[in-house]
Amino acid sequence: MTIMRNMTIRYKLNLIIMLTCILALVLAGTALLLWQRVTLRQEMVSNLSTLAQITAENCKAAVAFEDVEDATETLKGLHAQPSIIFAEVHTKGGESFANYTRAGSDSDIITEHQIAAYQKDGYFFGDGSLTIFKSIVLDGETIGMVRLQSDLEPLYEMLKRDTTIIISIILFASLVAYFVSMMIQGIISGPILNLAEAAKRISEQKDFSIRVQKESEDEVGLLVEAFNEMLEQIQHHQAALIEANEQLEERVRQRTAELEETHKKLLDASRHAGMAEVATDVLHNVGNVLNSINVSVTLIREKVAKSEVANLKKVVDIIKENIDDLGTFLTQDQRGKHIPEFLIEVSKTLAEEQADTIERFRSLTENVEHIKEIVKMQQSYAKVSSVEEPTSLAKLVEDAIHINSAGLERHGVRLIRDFADPGPVSVDKQKVLQILVNLISNAKYAMSSRNVKGERILVVRIYAHGPDKMRIEVIDNGVGIAQENLTKIFNHGFTTKKDGHGFGLHSSALAARELGGSLSARSDGEGKGATFTLELPFKPAKVLQ
């Protein structure tokens, strides 16, 4: 059966038809042979019985007249029938009267039960032989018995002949059946094979436009129909899929472009945001300075308002009234007498006021100058972008500190500079400044909390790290960073500030990467301060200023 499973349907059909045919033929043949055997046996019994009857008839007189020679002669006549092995005439008493043995055969030995069977007519098939008993009846009286024993050669001969014929017929019929089945199996296998062929072609060529010719209205026809329908659907789906695929590619392309655009915008935005941060810091400092300017101005105005100038005007008015007789008035009049004293006092007060105002203006000027400086610095950084120019890291740090100086001062932060300046380097000043301003601003903010006890110390270090790296460290003793936030702080949108937008460190980190360096943070935990390290490639400036 496993062999059958791997055969093509054509051979399977053939095999099934042939097996059925041959089985039927063999069964029929066997049945025929068995029937033939029965018939032949009966025929043989009948023939032998007749022969026995004739013999009995012929021996009748011989037995009646005890003529052994005649009986023997009669029996000898049986040699014409070569299948007779043995023949015997018995007298009524069971004595052998005459017998005949076929030439070349052993004389028969009769068994006990055969003798018992002697008493009446009958027959039995012994091994390879048929024995017939026939009584010799004379005038209604049994006077003896004839026993004929024939071998079954004729039976075998006939059976052999019949078997040969039947086998021949079976072979011939099988051959005919084979050719017929070869011809008609196509009715069933043809469409199926077509279907299989089509399926194979489709799977090889991936051509779903192939259709199978429907040849019949039976189950195979239905199969073909269903197959074609399926192909139709597949083709349809495939087309849709290809279209969808193409559209998808187009869409991906579009999206990619959009994303690139967005990315660019985002980059710009972050850069701008970084710049805005710097601007905010700048403005903050500017605001601080402006505040002190404002205070100075108010103080000046109050001073001016309270000024002795008004009293001086009163004195001047009194003098004007008495201008005609000023000497008298000054010497005689009660009020006049106090005027010189008053004037001395006023001039003294005015001189003080002037000194104070001058001082304040000087401060004012200083502050304005500071603002000018900051704005100028900001302008200088904002102007150039991504341009490396020779500069000193220490100067950059000082600038950053300077921008934040107002805030630092306000919070009473003590600055410790630990510069091991490697000398002039080639660097994108704007970006480095942006990062440093951001870092210092953050440190200031971290230390601005009321939770911070003791002195607020900001350490800024510059040192070379290895032959080709330099580092700027901003170390504060502020609120510190929680362990879980250490990695998040550089994420876009992450902030711990109430009004922060989470851009500062993110854009700083980006800027550091753009510079070919890195920005890292470490903290021992909340309340334990933080250290931000900006690592930059060391590129000494080639041209000496």
Binding site: N58, K60, A61, F65, E66, D67, D70, D139, G140, E141
Partner: protein, 227 residues
């Protein structure tokens, strides 16, 4: 005896039969008179042969036809006559129980020819006439005993036209016109048949019997012999 047998029921039949056989033997012995000797094997065989001859021979007329089994009462019996000394003893008596061709068999004993002739004169000639001549003629089978060898011709002449199967044991029985002649060869009983005589007696002898005959006298043979 037959009546006696019929009267007895089956159970005792065999016993009775034995007694009867014994009685019969005694009777035979008594009747036989002069022939004291018991039948020899030879005569037993001959008796059987005579019986069997009847089966292979057909008589003309109603006597010959095989009897209808159902109406055996109406059938005439087959009579076997024995003329002369009875060499069979009581053999036949025991055999006659059997029917032949569904007919009863009757044995009749006739005295010697010589002793039983009646002298009479006719046309001034002394002639002899067997006293039981009619009875002889009525027999179907007549066995001419060896004791009558001298008168075979005379005896045959009596019955030759009366459908009687004549059986003899003399050497020249056939020549004298007898139909069957017994001869003993090497202690075996054989027989010869005179077919001409049989035809004269209008008896049909089956070929089977003829085949067994040691010698058959036929017309052609006769002619040949004559010529």
């Amino acid at each position: 005896m037959k009546v006696l047998v019929d009267c007895l029921d089956m159970k005792n039949k065999i016993n009775t039969l034995m007694i009867l056989v014994f009685l019969g033997a005694l009777a035979g012995h008594a009747i036989g008179g002069g022939d004291d000797s018991a039948p020899t094997r030879e005569y037993q065989v001959k008796a059987a042969f005579i019986y069997n001859f009847i089966k292979f021979i057909e008589w003309p007329g109603p006597a010959g036809a095989e009897a209808d089994q159902k109406s055996d009462e109406n059938n005439e019996p087959i009579t076997i006559g024995i003329i002369g000394e009875n060499p069979f003893g009581n053999t036949f008596e025991t055999v006659t129980k059997k029917k032949i061709k569904n007919k009863q068999v009757v044995i009749k004993h006739f005295g010697g020819f010589e002793k039983n002739n009646i002298k009479y004169r006719e046309d001034s000639k002394t002639k002899y006439k067997y006293k039981d001549a009619d009875a002889l003629k009525a027999c179907q089978v007549l066995f001419v005993s060896g004791s009558e060898s001298e008168y075979c011709k005379e005896i045959i002449d009596i019955v030759k036209d009366s459908y009687v199967l004549t059986i003899g044991e003399n050497k020249d029985f056939l020549k004298t016109g007898g139909i069957i002649e017994f001869a003993t060869e090497q202690k075996k009983v054989k027989f010869a048949i005179n077919l001409i005589a049989a035809e004269n007696a209008q008896l049909k002898i089956r070929s089977k019997l003829l085949r067994l005959a040691k010698k058959v006298i036929e017309k052609e043979e006769d002619e040949e012999e004559n010529s």
